[in-house]
């Protein structure tokens, strides 16, 4: 595998029973890229992340991950119970679990220093003893980013980290991710089409199929055209088809108005 690519998807398809989630997706994510994945709800964005994490079986195709890198993951925070009795520091450190021994596991000084350093960078160090339910949405999201980063992954996947956050907090999270992307490859699912373009280096639009993937200067225009509904070629084609239909059927629609 070409080592300058961290993630490579080749003709990946995923079906849930007979429901198509992803079809024939092929793209590559470069080393230290910051890629935004956009597309409609139900378009397979989350399935893509699950596939990258190895949590859904592929019906066809192949996913290659740079063997020198590990993956960090930031879920949507709706996935767990926020009243659970656990504090910020414990959540962040839990990102290290599974690395060393299982029985009588203790975090050493080094682990705790790493955690504090990371939390300081993200501006959540003073919250370390708070129970997670006492945090605001933005603070909680930063905690989850810290948990994902503590194991020092080479690739960071985020599933709508800014959903239901206000504009100011969204900006903060994106700034953090932009800094992170200097050293780590970042792949983010998002609905913030208006905001992400000032931060990401490339964009992929996914709606079952991959419709657009690029990082050139026309990126924004192309994607905005896509997100207005359907791909621009489709729009053009549909118009042509309508016109053809119209010509074929004659002035049928107006005819209906005559009594």
């Amino acid at each position: 595998m070409d080592s300058q690519y961290d993630l490579r998807l080749e003709n990946v398809s995923v079906y849930y029973g007979s429901v198509k989630a992803l079809e024939d997706i092929t793209f590559e994510v470069k080393n230290n890229d910051f890629i935004g994945i956009i597309g409609p709800n139900g378009g397979g964005k989350s399935t893509l992340i699950k596939a990258l994490l190895g949590q859904v079986p592929l019906n066809s195709g192949k996913i290659s991950i740079n063997p020198e890198k590990t993956i960090g993951y930031v879920p949507q925070f709706a996935e767990f119970d926020q009243s659970f009795p656990i504090c910020v520091e414990e959540v962040v450190l839990s990102g290290l679990i599974g690395q060393k021994k299982v029985f009588f596991k203790k975090y050493n000084k080094e682990d705790i220093d790493t955690a504090y350093c990371l939390m300081k960078k993200l501006g959540i160090l003073e919250l370390k003893e708070k129970q997670i339910g006492e945090l605001s949405g933005g603070q909680l999201q930063k905690v989850l980013v810290a948990r994902a980063l503590i194991s020092n992954p080479g690739i960071l996947l985020l599933d709508e980290p800014t959903a239901s956050l206000d504009v100011q907090v969204k900006k903060e999270i994106y700034e953090i991710l932009k800094n992170v992307s200097n050293e780590v490859t970042v792949l983010i699912i998002t609905h913030d089409i208006a905001e992400i373009f000032s931060y990401v280096k490339s964009v992929a639009y996914i709606n079952k199929n991959l419709h657009y993937h690029g990082s050139d200067s026309k990126m924004r225009k192309n994607v905005l055209e896509l997100t207005t509904g359907c791909p621009i070629e489709d729009l053009v084609r549909k118009e042509e088809e309508l016109m053809e239909d119209f010509i074929k059927t004659g002035d049928k629609y107006h005819d209906q108005c005559h009594f």
Partner: protein
Amino acid sequence: MINAIFKYSFMQNAVLAAVMASVICGIIGTIIVEKKLVSMSGGIAHSSFGGIGLGYLLNVPPILTGMLFAILASISLPMIKRKTDTNADTLIGVFWATGMALGILFIGLTPGYPPDMTSYLFGDILTVSSLYLVLMGILGVILVVLLTSMFKYWRIYLFDEAYMKVLKINVNWFEKILYIMIAMSIVLLIKVVGMILAIALLTIPPAIAKLYSKNLGRLMITSTVISLGISLLGLTLSYYFNIPSGATIILLAAVLYMISYYIKKILFK
């Protein structure tokens, strides 16, 4: 009552049972409440009734067959749920009713006079046998060792199972071990407070503890202490006033919960 404890071995057994039940409740109860497994635990408790009935029919100690049924239920429930994609709530209802029906059927088939089932339904801490005490002791030790040796793992399993999967840790093992522990705990608690009341003893002390603590370890310890306090007090009251011990313990727990709730409301407004 102190005299009675020295004098009668059934009182010694009762106090020992209360102590061990409290440790089990403190640990398993906190887990059930935090992992939202209360109704599943109810399903397991009631399906064990089938085993208890079978024990009477085959003339073996009902606790052993009851435990077998509870463990089978706790293993097959999540398995069937995954295989058939049925709603967990619905499956729990099926297990709940089927277990009870089997119990009634087996007891009906048992020759001779029907055995007195009220001690299984409502508990009778004063007739706890030494077999129970040994089983409770073993379970208590296993629980404490399992929990303390892998505490950080259990905490993450309870908090965010999905993330544990991302870290490529085998979540199924944690689930299996936990469900078996829940099944065994419930069957042992049945003798102390009864099947119907076991769920209350598992949920009320952690609920009280949660009003004041937001740390998982401390929650378990506080729940244990609360369980111990109310079961010993309940035992004393039932001894002096000659009232059913299981019901007394649960009512005390409920009253204590109400009092703690209002104290918290007034103090930490």
